[in-house]
């Protein structure tokens, strides 16, 4: 849709009541989350327990970090379907490389650090590949990333001979704190998640690059006429996405210590859904990282509540999930684009 349209339909700030309505809509996902948490605490006594909350936050970190990357891509008007497959691939390759290297590096934190760096590089490189194909090859993002989604997963399946690739047991102990460790009582993944969210929000909102990302998504031609390096910025969003996948994978691997062909299945849908639930526009132009974080938590808590209460037939979990997602977005329908 043409963006200019927004002007005429959306309308000039206006009265206090309108402003309140706007603020309400802007806070939509947050309200949905709060609402969900109230429901959760009413339905299950263990819901508000520190441990349960910590569990949900911690496991949300993985999709969350990926979704933060997706916020950049989508804000710039792009799309990346390959994230789930990519994280499977990164996990698998990183584990293989680390297992190989135990001979020369030992099994200490040094190798773990090397593995982390390797994962980030691999993720970023894959993101660069996606971005370059889309921007320079001028192929629709949907197609390119649908393609690499198949390619990445296939490569992993091939490397793992269809089975799982497991981290060396000695290495597991060194890596374990990355998922299970706590700092001041708060789990490491939560720290990483928060740190990345804060950085990303700042980058998106306070830096020139972030400005350009939004401008490109808002209207690519505007950006072009303002002498913004459009291609470079667009490719960079995919690199950031890849990097985020790399980071998420670093957190994922120590959790179960293995990559399997089913690792990361459907993560792309979850990530995109989180971004959109959070209020970022699917067509691009406007993105907010905090919204994405809230979106991820909404999804995380929905399934947590379903597991904790279990009063619905497990067959219907998907229906409840689907319905809640739609309702959460209905709360902020101003931004709708159909």
């Amino acid at each position: 849709m043409s963006d200019i349209s927004a002007t005429h339909v959306g309308s000039a700030g206006g009265s206090g009541r309108q402003k309140a309505l706007k603020a309400f809509e802007a806070a939509g996902p947050l309200l949905a989350l709060i609402f969900l948490m109230i429901i959760g605490s009413l339905m299950s006594s263990s819901f508000l327990g520190a441990e349960n909350l910590s569990n949900v936050f911690t496991r949300s970190a993985i999709i969350g970090i990926i979704a933060i990357g997706a916020t950049f891509v989508i804000t710039a008007g792009g799309l990346d379907l390959s994230v789930g497959s990519l994280s499977a691939l990164v996990a698998g390759v990183a584990i293989m490389v680390m297992n190989q290297a135990t001979g020369s590096f030992g099994t200490g934190w040094l190798l773990v650090a090397a593995g982390i760096v390797f994962s980030l590089l691999l993720g970023a490189a894959a993101g660069f590949f996606n971005g370059a194909m889309i921007v320079k090859g001028r192929v629709e993002a949907f197609i390119v990333t649908l393609g690499t989604m198949g390619v990445f997963r296939s490569i992993l399946t091939w490397l793992s001979d269809g089975g799982s690739i497991s981290l060396d047991f000695a290495l597991r102990d060194a890596a374990r704190p990355i998922y299970y460790g706590t700092i001041g009582g708060i789990a490491v993944p939560i720290f990483v998640f928060i740190a990345i969210a804060v950085i990303a929000e700042v980058v998106l909102r306070r830096t020139r690059f972030g400005r350009h990302v939004a401008a490109i998504g808002s209207n690519r031609y505007v950006a072009l006429y303002s002498a913004i390096p459009v291609d470079r910025v667009r490719i960079l969003t995919y690199v950031i996405q890849g990097l985020c996948v790399g980071i998420a994978t670093v957190i994922y691997v120590p959790r179960l210590g293995a990559a399997t062909p089913s690792t990361g299945m459907m993560w792309e849908l979850e990530a995109i859904a989180s971004v959109i639930i959070g209020g970022t526009a699917l067509g691009g132009g406007f993105g907010r990282v905090w919204g994405t974080v809230v979106g991820v938590l909404i999804l995380g808590f929905i399934s947590n509540i379903l597991n904790l209460t279990g009063f619905i037939s497990p067959y219907l979990n998907g229906a409840v999930q689907g319905a809640i997602i739609v309702i959460a977005v209905l709360l902020q329908r101003d931004r709708s684009q159909g």
Binding site: T157, S160, G162, P261, S303, N304
Partner: protein
């Protein structure tokens, strides 16, 4: 070639099927070497619909025999029947078809027995009753059969099933569901994860808490889990045998049929015995990916 054998199996989308594809490949390679005048074509499918397509494609290649591990029993019945009608030798593996007597040869595990074995394990572990949680697999007929048998076998015991949720035979989902079960139920004596992949996830979730003495039972015989059993892990002290290796005799027997003209048909059902520390060694294949 004297004969072409088509093999249609599910794609490697979770651990067990991964192992299946691995063993299929290995067996085919071995058979090719042993019987150079027999051709093999392997196709893998990610859904029942695709598997039907694949079988059609195999028929186009004029195969003489079809070894098929159906994604789903009902949807594959018609297409396999159609293949049979064209005179192809049919070997069905693992999941039976919805109609009897279509296949020439059946090689399979015993799915009801799988559920019963699990139930027996818990009955023996908790003779005075216990509270267990269950993870179901992917919503399919096999999962239903196993769960039903499991529940029936527990009917006359004092064991209470607290809840059942789908974990899709997936370690990540197993981890998540277990974490939530642990929050929800202050006392859990045992977990039937339904599958070794999910069991691994459940184990990590339990390890993370300070709960002691929770028994985790998976199933299917993943080498990693059998190793744990063998090493006397106190959380996982048993497993149910239901290995993807059952594709091996299926392929071998079908090959024999063409290589040697040996009369081959009938049913070959692997039991689903409980693997414990005592007998673990005989089920342990350290080199398999699964």
């Amino acid at each position: 070639a004297d004969a072409t054998i088509g093999i249609s199996i599910p794609a490697a989308d979770h651990g067990w099927t991964g192992g299946l594809v691995y063993h299929t490949k290995r067996t085919v390679e071995a058979m090719k070497k042993a019987f150079p005048n027999i051709d093999f074509v392997v196709v893998t499918s990610s859904s029942a619909t695709q598997q039907v397509n694949d079988i059609e494609d195999l028929m186009s290649r004029k195969i003489n025999a079809l070894v098929v591990l159906p994604q789903e029993s009902d949807p594959l019945t018609e297409p396999v029947k159609a293949a049979k009608a064209k005179g192809v030798f049919v070997t069905v593996v693992d999941r039976g078809l919805a109609e009897k007597n279509i296949e020439d040869l059946y090689v399979g595990g015993d799915n009801p027995q799988y559920g019963v074995a699990a139930a027996e394990y818990f009955k023996k572990k908790f003779p005075d009753g216990g509270k267990i949680v269950v993870m179901r697999g992917i919503p399919t007929a096999i999962d239903n059969i196993r769960i039903e048998a499991f529940q029936n076998a527990l009917k006359d015991s004092k064991i209470e099933i607290l809840d059942m949720q789908y974990a899709n035979w997936n370690p990540d989902k197993g981890f998540e569901v277990m974490q939530d079960y642990l929050q929800r139920f202050p006392k859990i004596d045992g977990v039937w994860a339904g599958d070794d992949d999910a069991a691994l996830g459940a184990m990590e979730a339990i390890k993370q808490t300070d709960r002691k003495g929770v028994k985790v039972l998976g199933g299917s015989g993943m080498n990693k889990v059998i190793k744990l059993v063998q090493d006397g892990n106190d959380m996982v002290d048993a497993d149910i045998f239901y290995p993807p290796t059952l594709i091996i005799p299926a392929i071998e027997l079908t090959t024999m049929k063409f290589a040697t003209q040996a009369p081959i048909n009938g049913r070959y059902v692997l039991g689903s015995p409980l693997i414990t520390k005592d007998n673990a060694a005989q089920y342990y294949f350290p080199d398999a990916p699964y």
